[in-house]
Symmetry: C2
Subunit: 245 residues, 2 copies
């Protein structure tokens, strides 16, 4: 099929939810423009993104970034963008049950990412971390004790079934859900190094999946480039020592 | 197409996320079994649900209810179940952009429902409300002041575009997203009557959509039946006066 010219719109300074889309585009080797990271003189910058969010003429506006502009479609919601890209670029099984299963995995990854975000912002996304530190400590404690083991255990269980050695979550081929899970493991290691050191030995297949994706030839150039933004205390996965203790 | 025999699995005592699926099945007039609400002697009850969650032989296990058993498929994640039902039973546009847009709407509705849940459980889903009351009050205040108006404003804006009088969110026909948004408005009125009384006048199309679905002939029997579970202080939409004040 003809290659579409994709425009990805996401905040320019954090991996955030945009990274799940970037990894899919990079792995599939699909050309795209990361609009907000282009110079403002060239029509980039955050203003290009904000224009879409507030454009009163847009009949199908995104609620929030990331969103993908593909021709005259503006597609929002991370998992929805991946559903679109997955069937177009070989990042999901071709059969309907396999496609739905891959999407189900992605939605569960999105739930996990949302809970990670809320460990440092349990009260309000619009307030600083420093304004909700006590609550964050309580929420992070529950997350590390209960939610994180439950999520990781579920992915490990899925991989135990899928695995004939080095299969992904949805079969022998790498899907967008595998790419997203790689990023989540990387992010969890950044945010909760102590908790992850304790949990990883019981989740060998999950660790192996992370390592396979991390060393994939199809991502090598991207992961080594400045396009792969580092984790920091401004994104979903933040390291605050008191939340990992 | 041949009618599949669907089994819906969800906690039997609350509308919860299962209700989004129920409304789609009821509106499409598709036969289904609400398994956990069947007698245990007949293979129902919560145990039938839990068996799926822990079944080690299940290669594609759900992470949590609701899930839909359709033949040999077990489909989890509310929005994913609706994606499946939508294309099978005329509850989403047939064209791909329309299908993706409907799903994008649903994922945004899911985000809103998640934030409603977290107003009363900002610290841990596994703790009682009473154990996180102070934090809930802070989170609910932010939700009412910032998040709720932002979500409702976005839906109103979408409806303003879609509307040629009484269109839904994705065009002239009722989609699963319209049904879900009806339920969210009903739930918000239950949980936050005071906040909703203040907000509704500025969102006339949203209120009209709720009213149209509420009086739809295709849902009349269901909504009047005991199958439509009432809101209570055990589900997503809970009324605690101090969170609405």
């Amino acid at each position: 099929m003809a290659t579409l010219h994709y425009e990805l719109h996401y905040w320019p300074s954090i991996p955030g939810r945009g990274e799940f889309v970037r990894l899919a585009l990079e792995y599939a080797d699909v050309p795209y423009l990361d609009v907000a990271r282009e110079p403002e003189e060239a029509g980039g910058g955050e203003m290009a993104l904000v224009r879409f969010l507030v454009d009163p003429k847009l009949a199908r506006p995104p609620f929030a970034p990331p969103f993908l502009v593909a021709g005259d479609q503006v597609i929002g919601q991370t998992a929805n963008i991946l559903l679109f890209l997955g069937s177009r670029h070989g990042l999901a099984p071709a059969d309907e049950p396999g496609r739905l299963w891959t999407h189900q995995l992605q939605l569960t990854i999105a739930d996990l990412a949302g809970e990670v975000h809320d460990t440092h912002h349990p009260i309000a996304a619009g307030l600083y971390y420093e304004d909700q530190r006590a609550e964050a400590r309580r929420r992070a404690e529950d997350f590390r004790a209960h939610r994180l083991p439950r999520f990781l255990g579920w992915f490990e269980r899925v991989l135990a079934h899928a695995s004939g050695g080095d299969a992904g979550l949805a079969g022998p081929d790498v899907t967008y859900a595998d790419l997203s899970l790689f990023h989540v493991v990387a992010g969890l290691r950044y945010a909760f190094p102590r908790a992850m050191r304790q949990l990883e030995p019981a989740h060998p297949r999950l660790v192996a999946l992370h390592d396979r994706i991390a060393s994939s030839a199809r991502l090598a150039a991207y992961l080594a480039s400045p396009r792969r933004l580092p984790f920091s205390e401004e994104g979903i996965f933040r390291h605050y020592a008191e939340l990992d203790d």
